[in-house]
Amino acid sequence: MTYLDLSAIGLRYGDNVILDGIDLSVEQGEMHVLLGPSGCGKTTLLRSIAGLVQPDRGAIHLAGRAIEMLHPKDRGIGMVFQHYALFPNMTVRQNLAFGLEQRRLVRKVIDEKIDAVLEIVSLQNKADARPRQLSGGQKQRVALARALVLEPSLLLLDEPLSALDAQIRKRLRDELKRIQRRTGLTSILVTHDQDEALSLGDRISVMNNGRITQTASGPEIFYRPADLFVAKFIGNANILTAAEFSRLIGRDFDQTAIIHPHVFKIGKASEGSNLFEVAATVVETVAAGNVVRYVMQANGIMFNVEAQSAMNEECLAAGTGTTLSINPSNGHFLKEN
């Protein structure tokens, strides 16, 4: 059942259309990822849902209730801000307590709630630290805890990992997923990083220029992008126009081909199969751990090929000729317009 439903959300600043009719449904307990380039309106959409900006049009329903006219605090929404937005003069415990105190809860209840949520984010021993004494990852977890402690119906996360360095980022990503699973909290996470989107999202909505271009599961988005924008934004697939693909396979073809580098197989196709065979030359070789990345050329077309490396096997040197086979059912094709 749809838990959060956005319909035709529109917002403009002056003449700039920032949100151009956003429709989105999120299921209960889902981790939904909004993926899109910087400036496409992701933050604005989150802020509209939270009630921090008022969209010009559209309706928002959360758990069956129309919330678009409610004050932010009455929407039951928690938000983790891009730059944490922790209260710098307060300890971690005070940061978490501030919102609870507004609800006139008994001190003992407040303390219990805080302890429980600090346990979830593994920060029990930092309760009395101040934000400036915490690392970036710890601050991020405090921000998460501050949103969780109010037991929201919906959690919004605006690029929660983008300010962290690569290693912590990956660790916190897994932890975020674990916490979301454990709490079962319906969440919308914004990112411009496709790896993050693919590894975190139950479903992903790709945004461009204030519109959602595709909403689907990670593998679906990855292998079957709805249009060229999504194809270019996700993954590093070879995008070959109909003309280029025709030249590559030496046969007439009328659609844009999206072929992931690992779909090209090095070696001849087995006897009697309907795979295409292409004679190619290696232009460049990069051996990166368990995969080898090649740039190859065939019939004047350049493209990327990726193969598994093996311990006792040499990879192909630049200049070597080889045969590639392509299984067309592993490619994705878009009508040209």
Binding site: R47, P72, K73, F81, A85, F87, P88, M90, F98, Q102
Partner: protein
């Protein structure tokens, strides 16, 4: 935070610190010397000069006047300037641009022109107060403006105030409450710094005091000026005392900042 050791840098910093302290130390030494001629060090030491100065009723009242005027001016400045800067920061960006331009005014416009302006303002209604000590207080308030503006503004910019207010709204905390509980405590160190710097400046102010209020209201600097012919020793004592007072205020302010930082 990690501290890395750079021997060359450490040496340079110590050298600079000693160099900067040298005049202060020399002044202090002069203030306690009984005679100091023809040698690198004084011939004898005594605190007699301090007794002379500190027990001088004229010195005491000069010190009191300067402290009261500076204190009143700073009090008014806190009351008027700080809320204005905060309000402009949040609600009136255009006003804020003008404030940023006004910052250089006291430095860019020659004192003599400001002085003439002040004299005219205070010689006609509605502020016909010419020569009264309150004129000095009212003159000092705008002089404090740049330091307050720069420090408060810097502190505000260091905070991501938009996100803080939004975070507050989602938590059900009103803007006024967030301002009181989060923004003000966070910019307090900046305000304290502005107070200390301005206090030091006002205590050593001479020109405005002399020109606007004149002889009947002797401030610390005017007292020092009057004593200039007496002896170098007495002047040194006054300077040392003045330096110690400023130091004391600075420490008090930093203690206060430190206490609010660890308490709140």
């Amino acid at each position: 935070m990690t501290t890395t050791r750079h021997p060359a840098l450490t040496t340079t910093l110590w050298f600079a610190a000693i160099l900067l302290l040298l005049p202060v130390l020399a002044t202090f030494l002069n203030s306690i010397a009984t005679g100091w001629t023809g040698g690198i060090l004084p011939s004898g030491l005594s605190l007699d000069a301090y007794q002379t100065i500190l027990l001088d009723a004229r010195f005491q009242s000069a010190l009191l006047r300067s402290t009261i005027v500076a204190g009143l001016a700073l009090f008014l400045a806190c009351l008027l300037i700080v809320p204005a800067v905060i309000a402009a920061h949040f609600y009136w960006p255009t006003l804020d641009t003008w404030m940023a331009r006004l910052v250089i005014l006291p430095y860019a416009v020659p004192t003599i022109i400001l002085m003439v302006g002040y004299l005219r303002v205070f010689s006609a209604p509605p502020l016909q107060l010419g020569g009264q000590p309150i004129v000095l207080v009212l003159t000092y308030v705008p002089l404090c403006f740049p330091m307050f503006y720069i420090n408060v503004k810097n502190s505000l910019q260091a905070l991501d105030t938009t996100e803080l207010f939004e975070a507050g709204r989602l938590l059900g905390i009103s803007d006024a409450r967030l301002l009181r509980r989060v923004i003000l405590p966070s910019i307090f160190p900046g305000i304290a710094l502005a107070i200390v710097l301005n206090f030091a400046g006002l205590m050593s102010e001479f020109v405005y005091a002399r020109m606007l209020v004149g002889g009947q209201f002797e401030t610390l600097q005017m007292y020092m000026f009057a004593q200039r012919d007496l002896s170098g020793r007495l002047s040194s004592v006054i300077v040392t005392v003045y330096f110690l007072i400023t130091l004391l205020i600075t420490f008090a302010a930093f203690r206060l900042v430190w206490r609010t930082e660890t308490k709140s």
